[in-house]
Symmetry: C2
Subunit: 612 residues, 2 copies
């Protein structure tokens, strides 16, 4: 058999009504569609890495979404509505690759000044000269520098500046754990505090200091050509491996920060004068720390205040949380999306900050399953709008007074208003998700353990479901669990539920995939994320907040959004065609009332121009 | 004719008794011996570049002499007596070549900490990432960084540190004209002034600032591993294109410094607590400045004092001059040679500072003649010992009070002691030069223009001549010229003389080479250098200093040393075998008395182990 014959041969059709074989025995690319999402951003093939390098091109109003691609530079796409996307280059080819003088080894994350050098989109990125790099090992001097590249062809290519890095080293003699992922931003409060000119660009660079802890290094634009960036100090530093509060709400700060974004928000969206937020990845390990192994990477956010200490800007967190609780969710990267962008002009949205979270193909840090058979790895999650969220009429008690992922923004006569980070699927894709055929499932109250099938389950593994679950205040502290089983059949089921014992939304993946029994690396571990349902006063009476769920099932990608302030995304790699059922789920003692259940079928196709 | 035949064919013997052909018509390498020096340091073949990277290996006591080689890294040799040399690698192969992560384009000058990283010889050198680089054009950010390389094999190879540059950029946001040639040194005065630990290493980096002028950037060792160097400011800066005094004695400071050395001397030699000297190259052009053309490069020295200004060390010149007045002489690079070195142990010399001056193959900046036919280009001049020189009993008059290449170190009752830079051919090679067969020529006084042949001329074009010429004080300001013709025959002559009109030693090369008439790029321009013969008091009477000459003729290399404080070196590419005559020379009006004339024949062979 010649190679040509081999290439043309059609593998035997895969039978999704029978138990799966060991998937690694199947032909390359034969599982391409098996778990591939439809409404999500991912390259036409291959491995998607960190989201980064997004921007709105002022010349076109198109929003550019970027990602590291196949470990060899970065690719991207444009969108005029945050719903559908168009690859910048054929076959998703990169707009920048490593191999230049500044980046002989790799191109790491960067960010774009939309009107930078000569008014053109200008990328500030981490140019890598030496590997390995990790917080667990001694830092190789000069391994990460920050360099410029400029696009003159609407972002299809970013041409590297023919000069050395514009930030050629970490701060003098600082033994850093990392020094990468420059995120450029403008900020009115910083301008005022530091007496910078209006519209000055800043960048934070993520990293930390060996023996000391994680940091964000702050720099300020020095010249109109972006050749020099003035170091303004570690505007944010945390002691190594400490936590926010008791650690329940925002994991650990760890030893090294990565992929930090800095932006400011009001209740509508992006506001240069608004409250300062940062999203960041935190890396840490259990003791003993093993060289070149980072056990955990957590995708966090923090918001806080800005002060001048000894002439330097200092960021102090006032609340912190997780952007997404899924173990595969990491490296969120966002960008200001101005009201003048094409997407916002059409939707009437104000200035926004849009963030894309990466969902790695694995339980981050493990192997990817059946990589060659799938021929793609990882995806972005749906773009999210971030803003300042308010939780009103909250009872002033221990629950609301804990140091958590919220802060008290006002109080009067024993009732509090809490502020937090509001996260919603961006309005355009959210509207589009709900735009197809839909049906409702009647609500019901469950009082005893068991599962109850929906009257009607969706026709496919592509749908969005909204639902609410109400609990009596007596449920607090009980063993009650309530939620849904999805992607279910007689062979498989993925159970997601709220459990009061630790105030968490849990995704039980024990039985999510029949393939996990035949094939390595299909992870079956639970996912869990903490969400407090506060006591609130409604019509003069105390009650517990209702759990409001939006669940997006895009084939094997499951996104769970709750109460506009919680997200947990993961993989549920169901095998059987039949695994489409939805069921109510109850366990433990107590009552759960399900309501407002709508299933929107089919989802939309984010890549209409790609040949499949 | 096959290529093998061609390679084996013997070119017709060259007839040095007949007029030369156009030399570029001759076979490659056929002129290898024609002008090649014998007692000088140069590679076995190819182009020698800047001297640099010298050091005494503490493990062996051998002195290592280095040079940039063929534009592709650096090679070197060792010596145990400053007379004979042994190549570090077979065929003069380099001990470092460009092409690494830090130096993809080139390796420029560096210097060696003899017991550096892990106690091993450690090279700090300029790693080049972008070209072109010149003070006449905008500086490419990041083109020159300073990196480390360490030798573990007695200097035969310097292995580049597997990390980025230790000085990764010029001072922040400074628009430099150059930033290269780090010269490491220790200095007791700096230690005291800056409260550094004893034996702290410093480095100056040569360059300048666009629109501002040339500078030496001072750095201090920050850590025992030499990973970081603390920037201490421009310890020396001169306004662009200014001069020392009226410019007669030390040319122009120009626009950019190169190849700066810093060291301290007493009257014996090197002294960490002695007077601070620097040698430096100064680059400048006539108006209008043409991009990528530096019309002039001058090889200067300066000595001065050290003060603390606003907490920073500042060097202020008190006297300045030229290391060598020849247009081909540049890039002097020296090193402390400790008394414990093999050479000094044998000769009984104290700690010294030994400097090698580069003699480019051309009138620096022009083309090299018959490059392929010669198959080598350029040489070093003989190593020089530098120390503080004294000129005693100098009459206090306008001549001694001028701002020149000397300073008044003491005065009493109208008689001055002047200090200056003393330069002598190092004692070991000087002794060796005078070690062979010699003869004396009787002195005589010439009173009218003309030339008078020596009774006996040397047998070859390899010899050293010492002589003195005395002039009456009435000669000052006259049109008198007096000196010698060398490498002379009926066809050719090179005339060197002192002329009072501008107090200069001149080398008239108009008729130095018959080949200049057939072949391009054999430069026939005059060389000239300024030497003041002071009025001194001797036995109670005023007289003019005697001109004391040491002239080394090493084939086409001519070194003229005068009064231990003047050097002018150049090429005199005589063609005819017969051009060996020496003649007395007189022109103009006045009397010149020649005396103490000795000719030492043959010179020594500096490379006894090389096959020729």
């Amino acid at each position: 058999m010649s190679r040509q014959d081999e290439a043309n041969s059609t593998p035997a059709a895969i039978d999704y009504s029978a138990a799966p074989p060991n998937l690694t025995t199947l032909a390359n690319a034969s599982l391409f569609e098996t778990w591939r999402p439809r409404a999500h951003v991912l390259p036409p093939f291959g491995q998607i890495g960190d989201p980064c390098m997004h921007y709105t091109d002022p010349a076109t109003g198109l929003f550019h979404v970027g990602w590291l691609f196949n470990g060899n530079g970065a690719s991207g796409a444009t969108t005029d509505d945050l719903v559908t996307y168009r690859d910048l280059n054929a076959d998703g080819a990169p707009f920048i690759v490593p191999g230049g003088t500044n980046d002989p080894i790799a191109v790491f994350d960067g960010s774009v000044i939309p009107a930078g050098v000569d008014g053109k989109p200008t990328l500030l990125y981490t140019s890598v000269s030496y590997l390995p790099i990790q917080w667990t090992i001694p830092y190789t001097r000069g391994s990460e520098t920050q360099s410029l590249a400029v696009s003159s062809d609407s972002g299809r290519n970013f041409t590297k500046a023919q000069h050395g890095p514009v930030i050629p080293s970490p701060p003098f003699a600082l033994n850093v754990t990392g020094f990468r992922d420059p995120f450029v931003f403008q900020n009115g409060q910083l301008d005022t505090l530091l007496e910078s000119g209006n519209g000055t660009w800043y960048t934070v660079i993520s990293g930390g200091v060996h023996g000391d802890g994680p940091s964000q290094f702050l720099y300020r634009q020095y010249d109109p050509d972006f050749q020099y960036w003035e170091y303004l100090g570690e505007w944010w530093h945390e002691a190594a491996n400490t936590t926010w509060g008791n650690g329940d709400w925002a994991g650990r700060w760890g030893y090294n920060f990565e992929v930090a974004n800095v932006f400011s928000l009001n209740e509508e969206g992006y506001d240069s004068e608004g409250k300062i937020f940062t999203t960041l990845g935190a890396e840490w390990s259990l003791d003993p720390i093993v060289p070149e192994v980072s056990d955990f990477r957590e995708m966090l956010w923090a918001a806080g205040n800005l002060t001048l200490v000894d002439g330097k800007a200092k960021f102090t967190p006032e609340m912190a949380g997780k952007i997404d609780w899924g173990h595969s969710a990491y490296a969120a990267a966002g960008k200001e999306l101005p009201a003048s962008s094409q997407a916002s002009t059409k939707s009437g949205a104000p200035d926004r900050f849009i963030s894309y979270v990466w969902l790695t193909g694995n339980f981050y840090g493990t192997q990817n399953p059946a990589t060659n058979q799938q021929n793609w790895t990882g995806t972005f999650l749906l773009p999210r709008e971030l803003s300042v969220g308010k939780i009103n009429n909250v009872v002033d008690n221990e629950l609301s007074r804990e140091q958590g992922s919220w802060q008290i923004s006002s109080e009067s006569s024993g009732v509090l208003e809490l502020s937090t980070l509001k996260q919603q699927i961006a309005r355009e894709p959210l509207a589009k998700l709900k735009n197809g055929a839909s049906y409702t499932e009647a609500g019901q109250t469950l009082r005893s353990p068991g599962s109850v099938a929906f009257v009607k389950s969706p026709d496919s593994k592509f749908y969005t479901m909204t639902a609410s679950i109400s609990f009596p205040q007596s449920a607090r502290g009980s063993d009650l669990k309530a939620g849904f089983q999805i992607l279910a059949s007689e062979h498989e089921t993925t159970t997601l539920y709220y459990q009061f014992s630790n105030e968490s939304i849990v995704v039980d993946r024990t039985n999510s995939s029949a393939a996990a029994q035949t094939t390595d690396d299909i992870d079956s571990r639970n996912e869990a994320g903490r969400l407090r349902l506060f006591d609130v006063v409604e019509d003069g009476a105390e009650k517990m907040e209702t759990l409001e769920l939006t669940i997006v099932v895009d084939n094997a990608v499951v996104e769970i959004h709750a109460n506009d302030r919680f997200a947990l995304s993961t993989w549920a790699r169901s095998w059987y065609d039949a695994s489409k059922e939805i069921r109510f789920f109850h366990d433990g003692t107590g009552e759960a009332t399900f309501g407002n259940i709508t299933v929107y079928e089919g989802l939309y196709e984010a890549w209409p121009e790609r040949s499949s």
